[in-house]
Symmetry: C2
Subunit: 311 residues, 2 copies
């Protein structure tokens, strides 16, 4: 395994992708407290909220308040997600409060219509304008391509189609492309094959893997993407998140499980795992339910005291 | 990933390793019904029970009854686990009812003492007699080495120590060595390194990986062992099992998640995943609690109808 990276970048997306899928609205002060806590675990990238219409996603109706109130160390890069120019307008009211802008669309026409009621061509047209304006504001720009490995409505999503979409986004100014396995259809073989294709087609662009643990193999997909040269990941504390399709599906890969695996493998994440587990425990308290994360229950691997070494 | 196997062998150990860790005794007729159902999912290897002292593990006090009553297709190989010669005596009363005998010990002195109150040397001496007699009975012989990747009491367990123990067991007649990550301390890098060592030292012996999903990376460890040439796995339906240390730890890797990942990767298991998920659902009903398995909730990946092909 000598070809694996020494360090990776981890973006915590729980406060957006995770909270968004919670049925009960979480009080703003709890969101702020949890984000502040995440910001002190060593995580260097956090997606904190999304500027969407309150009637579409009531859970994120407090986006402006969350962004205004959070207080994290200066070296933590905060990102916000926007669906369109109108969301960008709202976000830019607090331009000085965040560093990165995230946009998204699906690689499947059907999923994109279900999600944002537009064709892929219409989405790309809108996102080109958003990316252009975000660039003028000096924001780092990430574009997430959902259903990049498969679609619950259409089944297969050709890798070449995903590549085409990514190339349009890069031409429009995206600095980073995240490939989302939105409903947990990816497997390690597919992951390794697809990232090989995407890396070859998108040289110089940060490529990020965004896996869901819908069928329990999220970390196996992480391992496969490490083998394919990926060194940037998104995850959600407590395994929060997910997608309403298929019914009963669980969430994103758990950040604390990702960090546990990588650190055990000697791949640096910069994250203090015990501190992250404490934050996830508080999340469980706030939501008042058990979470899917295994590491939350078992704790970090305990190798005991280090062997005595001569001074 | 061209070096991956086309097919693997899967042994279902839930009826022994899984049931054993359930606090409430499961009625014998329910155990029998579930094993009979597992035997009709395409699983070709099932560990059905263990002949241990009833006062030590009351849950398996019905071992003889279970073995007597189960009814699975002729091509399913049944194994029973015994801790010592006395257990073997009890098992051999129904010699014609099973095909494989499994013995076990730990690679950590402390864990072995906690588990069977013996030193490793004492265990090996006893197991040599058990393996010898099992061979004379024409039974296939598997030896499981627990804590082969790490020990909750001792921390590191040297790979070379595990190798030595395995070599003694092979010399005593073991046809198969299973390496147990009993408390979920393994990581993919370690798995790949250790199986490379063990494969080189134990040529001609079936090497089996037995992972726990204690920290969520069981399937990542499966992927790593596939890369290291392993093609034999043990798993437990519903993610049952586990170990009392660390507290709150979850169980073995879930058979249905293992099968889902492998089949999606084009690696044949012989198992009918929907049928296995039905069996796991019935297990959840019998235990009257939700299980950790993600595939149980999400179902198999749905790629939709196959594309039209000319006749």
């Amino acid at each position: 395994m000598s070809e694996l990276p020494d360090a990776v970048r981890v973006r915590e997306v729980g406060p957006r992708d995770g909270f968004q899928n919670e049925a009960e609205v979480i009080p703003t002060h709890e969101k702020v407290r949890l984000i502040d806590q995440l910001g002190r675990t060593g995580l260097k990238r956090i997606e904190v909220t999304s500027f969407v219409r309150r009637d579409v996603i009531p859970q994120l109706g407090d986006a402006a308040e969350v962004l205004r109130q959070i207080d994290v160390p200066d070296d933590v890069a905060l990102s916000v997600l926007v669906p369109n120019e109108r969301g960008l307008d709202h976000a830019l009211v607090q331009r000085e409060r965040f560093h990165e802008l995230t946009v998204f669309l699906s690689a499947s026409e059907t999923h994109n219509r279900h999600n944002v009621n537009r064709s892929i061509a219409q989405s790309l047209e809108e996102l080109e304008r958003v990316l252009d304006r975000a660039g003028a504001e000096g924001l780092r720009r990430e574009a997430v391509i959902s259903t990049a490995f498969g679609c619950p409505y259409e089944g297969e999503v050709p890798a070449a189609r995903v590549t085409e979409i990514a190339q349009v986004l890069v031409a429009a100014g995206a600095d980073e492309i995240a490939f989302g396995d939105t409903t947990g259809m990816a497997n390690p073989r597919m992951v390794e094959e697809r990232f090989a294709i995407w890396r070859a087609a998108l040289r110089g662009v940060e490529l990020t893997a965004h896996f869901h643990n819908t069928r329990g193999l999220g970390l196996a997909n992480v391992l496969a993407s490490l083998h394919a040269g990926v060194d940037s990941f998104e995850a959600s504390f407590g395994e929060l998140g997910g997608c309403p399709v298929p019914a009963g599906a669980t969430g994103n890969i758990a950040t604390e499980e990702l960090v546990s695996m990588l650190e055990e493998m000697g791949i640096a994440t910069g994250v203090d795992l015990p501190a992250l587990i404490v934050a996830t425990g508080e999340l469980s308290d706030v939501l008042d339910r058990p979470l899917g994360s295994h590491v939350l229950r078992a704790g970090p691997v305990d190798w005991g005291p280090p062997p005595d070494r001569p001074a």
